[in-house]
Point group: C2
Chain length 297, copies 2
C-alpha cells in the first residue's frame, strides 16, 4: 500500500511515492485516513486537528508547524515521531516586534487618532536609533529581532539564560534594567520565566522605558505593569499578556501608554512559504528514509 500523507495545503511538492490527502483544519477531515503515516497539523486551528492523531492507525510522524509542542506530547502514541516548526515564525515575530517598538517610539497611536479626526498637527517623537535595547531571550527569534535593531542603529544588549561571550546571563538582569530604554521579552512559558518581570524589575527601569513582550504573557506581572503604565512612568507594547485573552474590562486596554495586539506576532504571511519549504524537505527525507529535521519529544 502507498504511504499517505495528510497535509494542510494542496500546493506543495510531494515525492511521487507518497499519496496525499488534504485537510486545512476547517470542516471535517477527509475520509479514508487509515493509511496516513505522516500528518502535518494545520497551523493555529484550535483543538480539533490534534484530536485526529488518535484516529490514524498507521501514523509514523506528526509534524506541527508551531514551535511549541507541549500540548501534543500526551497525544502522540509511543513510537510515533514528533517534529516541530522551530524557526518558521522567527521572522514573523521579529517583524511584529519591530512594528510594536516603532509604533510606540514614533507615536503611531497619536497619528492614527489624528487621522480619524482629519487633523494634521506635527510634533517631534522618540526614536529607536541610539536606544539601549535589552533583548531578553536570545534564541533564533531574538537574533532575528537583533538584525532589525542593528539596522536601526539601536544598541542591543542580549540576555540569555546563561552568560557567554557577548551575552549576559539572566542573573545579571537586575543590574541591566536601570540603563535600558527598551526591554524586549522573547521568553517561553516555563517555571523559570514566570513572573520574571515583577514589581521590583519594573521599578528598576528608568522613567519612560518601554516594555515589549512578544514571548509569553506569564513572563510579566500584569498587575504591576498596569500600575506602572497607569501611573505614566513606563510604557508597554505587548502582543502577549497574562491572562489571554485580556478580559474586555481590564484597565490595561485603555491606558494611553499601552499598545496591545492579540497574540498575532507569529501569524503572518511570511510563515506560510517557510512552513511549506520545511514540509517539502521533511517529506523528501521521509520518502528516502532519512532522519527528519526538528525532531522533538
Amino acid at each position: 500500500m502507498t504511504a499517505r500523507v495528510l497535509l494542510p495545503w494542496s500546493d506543495i511538492s510531494v515525492p511521487a511515492e507518497l499519496d496525499t490527502a488534504c485537510w486545512d483544519g476547517s470542516g471535517s477531515p477527509p475520509p479514508d485516513l487509515d493509511g496516513v503515516e505522516f500528518y502535518v497539523l494545520p497551523y493555529d486551528q484550535g483543538s480539533e486537528p490534534p484530536k485526529l492523531i488518535a484516529r490514524l492507525p498507521s501514523l509514523r510522524v506528526v509534524q506541527t508547524l508551531s514551535a511549541g509542542y507541549d500540548n501534543l506530547l500526551p497525544l502522540v502514541p509511543e513510537g510515533v515521531l514528533l517534529a516541530n516548526g522551530r524557526g518558521l515564525h522567527d521572522l514573523s515575530v521579529a517583524e511584529h516586534t519591530l512594528a510594536l517598538i516603532l509604533a510606540a517610539q514614533r507615536d503611531l497611536p497619536r497619528w492614527f487618532a489624528q487621522q480619524r479626526a482629519g487633523s494634521w498637527a506635527r510634533e517631534h517623537t522618540r526614536s529607536l536609533a541610539d536606544c539601549r535595547v535589552l533583548l531578553v531571550g536570545y534564541g533564533s527569534i531574538g537574533k532575528a529581532i537583533e538584525r532589525y535593531l542593528v539596522a536601526g542603529e539601536a544598541e542591543v544588549v542580549p540576555v540569555a539564560s546563561t552568560a557567554r561571550a557577548g551575552v549576559h546571563g539572566i542573573a545579571e538582569l537586575a543590574g541591566l534594567l536601570p540603563s535600558a530604554d527598551i526591554v524586549v521579552l522573547v521568553l517561553p512559558d516555563a517555571p523559570r520565566t514566570r513572573g520574571l518581570i515583577g514589581p521590583a524589575e519594573l521599578a528598576a527601569l528608568p522613567d519612560a522605558a518601554l516594555v515589549v513582550n512578544v514571548g509569553r504573557g506569564t513572563a510579566v506581572d500584569t498587575d504591576a505593569l498596569t500600575a506602572e503604565v497607569a501611573g505614566g512612568r513606563l510604557r508597554a507594547a505587548i502582543d502577549v499578556v497574562d491572562p489571554e485573552p485580556l478580559p474586555p474590562e481590564h484597565p490595561l486596554w485603555t491606558l494611553e501608554g499601552a499598545i496591545i495586539t492579540p497574540h498575532v506576532a507569529g501569524g503572518s504571511a511570511s510563515f506560510h512559504p517557510r512552513a511549506k519549504r520545511l514540509v517539502e524537505r521533511q517529506l523528501a527525507h521521509y520518502a528516502k528514509g532519512e532522519t527528519l529535521e526538528n525532531l522533538v519529544g
Copy 2:
C-alpha cells in the same frame, strides 16, 4: 573681537576661541548679535529663524539642520557660506518608513481599533518578509531604509534617477511596477519628480500593493491615489501628501486602506545627537580655518 556663534542648543562642545549665544527659535532672539559670524538655524521652527539672517552684519556661515535649503538661497548674502543638514535625518526617516510599512503589513490600525474596544480577536496578516519592495530614490535615506528591509528579508529593488550596477534607472519604472508588492518613494520635490506616480503608474501596480511616500507629496497624484485606495485596489501609507496639510474634509483621511502621518518622518529624537555632532565638527573646522562639511548653494 571674539567670533560669536549663535546656536539652538547650549549643551554642545564649542572651541574655546568662539563665543556663543543661544536661540532655539522660540521667543525673541538674544540681543547683541552684531558679532555673530556663524548661525546655526533652529530646526523646524518656521519662518522667523531664517529672517534673522538679514540682521547679522558679521555673518560668515549659515548652517541649516534640514537637508532642503532652497528656501534659504534668497536670504543668504553674497559671500556667506551655507551648509545643510544632509544625512542628519536619514535614520529618522528610515525608521518612520519602516513604521509605516509594518503598520500596514501587520494591520496595526485594526489592532488599535480592537484595543479601543477591549476586543481580543486574532487573524493572520500580511508580512514584510518576502515582499518585493521598489525603493524609488536611492540616496542616503534610501540606503538606510534598505538596511532595514534587508534585515527583514524583503527583496529590495532600488531605483535611482540614472541606472547603474545593481540600480535601475527611473526610465525602467513602468516595467517594474507590475511586480511590486510595495513601492517606497523617497524623492525630493523637483520638476522631474512631480506627478511621477500618476493614474497610469498606480494602475500598473498589482492588486493590494502598498504605496509608501516619505519624500515629498508632489511625487504622487493625490486624486489618483485616493481613487485607487477608495476602490479597495491599492493601499497607502504616507507621511507626505499634496497638499500639506491635507484638508480636514479630504476623503483620503477616512479610507480603510490609508495610513497618514503628518510629515513627521524626519523629526524624531535620533536627529538631535547627530545634529549636535555635526555642529561640533563644523565649529571645530571653523575655528581652525578648515573647509566646512555639507557646503551647498
